[in-house]
Symmetry: C2
Subunit: 158 residues, 2 copies
DNA sequence: TGGCAATAGTTGTGTTATACACTTAATATG
DNA sequence: CATATTAAGTGTATAACACAACTATTGCCA
């Protein structure tokens, strides 16, 4: 069988589709927000303020990529870069007031997308799917070739 | 509950992780193949030759993006652009001999990745997950805002 | 049948996400 | 205290992506 192969295939396809679709819907509603910006808004809203390096790890992106993303969002006033007092190398990225406000406006749009996507799918199946996706992510981060010794982060995440 | 919201979140995260990981593993094995190239090799190998516009639709990318991807792979000798005799506007993209050969070398690497990802996941859960992902994709393409009237393609795909 | 709309694909061009190599600054350690 | 380590940011290059416009071919219908 090749269920397994197909899962990764459909993960990719669905991921692409979702990214395009969410940006399109934001655009229709008058908001110019990229998928990366939305992901960071979501991350900071749900998980609270985070260091750039944490964001990089969670999103599997380079730290410099995160720096540039944050640059742009600081420029737009969506997030704040707060220096850590006890360790002045560190920064913390937090949602600004207008970031929170934007999130509140975007959330219903995202919810609509989710509703459309989840049509005709039972709660049980949704739960199983979520568990499988989490497990797969965890498996891959454990078996990662490029970035080693990040087990703790992975455990903390699940 | 927000299982549903989380599913899309983890789809994105897993998708990114997979793309990075597969390229890394190809690289370790000495192959410089981008995720897009791999996806096209896979698509053409499993589904046979395809028109550029079909490829664009399946991958949710613009036709011009596909043109450029195919350009590069033709240059590398991985695929052939075959003009359709009966309708000379149409093209068909097929794997070349060396494209098939490269695919044969990459497939075991991808299989290894899949094996790692699917560790500790039961067959039943994998099947359910696959079905859910397909359904979600189908739901989103049906509810699509940007590209309308593509129901037939969607049905043909599932 | 002749002309115009529709279709398939490519080019021109600009944007954006991405990351590698390097730098700067601060903290930890031996 | 000197050096290694860590956190973040810069300089720069590349690759994916898509909109607009263009070419070539086919379909349609009046």
């Amino acid at each position: 069988m090749n269920y397994e192969r197909q899962i990764l295939h459909w993960v990719n396809r669905l991921g692409f589709l979702t990214r395009k679709e969410i940006v399109a819907r934001f655009g229709v509603a008058g908001f110019e927000v990229s998928p990366e910006e939305w992901a960071l808004l979501l991350l900071l809203n749900e998980g609270g303020a985070k260091a750039p390096s944490e964001i990089a790890e969670i999103t599997s992106k380079d730290r410099t990529t995160v720096t540039r993303l944050v640059d742009g969002m600081v420029r737009k006033g969506l997030v704040n870069r707060i220096p850590n007092e006890s360790d002045r190398r560190r920064m913390v990225i937090e949602l600004s007031a207008s970031g929170h406000s934007l999130f509140a406006k975007l959330a219903p749009i995202a919810k609509g997308l989710i509703g459309d996507a989840m049509g005709e799918i039972g709660e049980d199946d949704a739960q199983i799917t979520l568990a499988v996706l989490k497990r797969m992510t965890s498996n891959l981060q454990g078996a990662d070739l490029s970035s080693s010794s990040k087990k703790e982060t992975q455990d903390a995440k699940l």
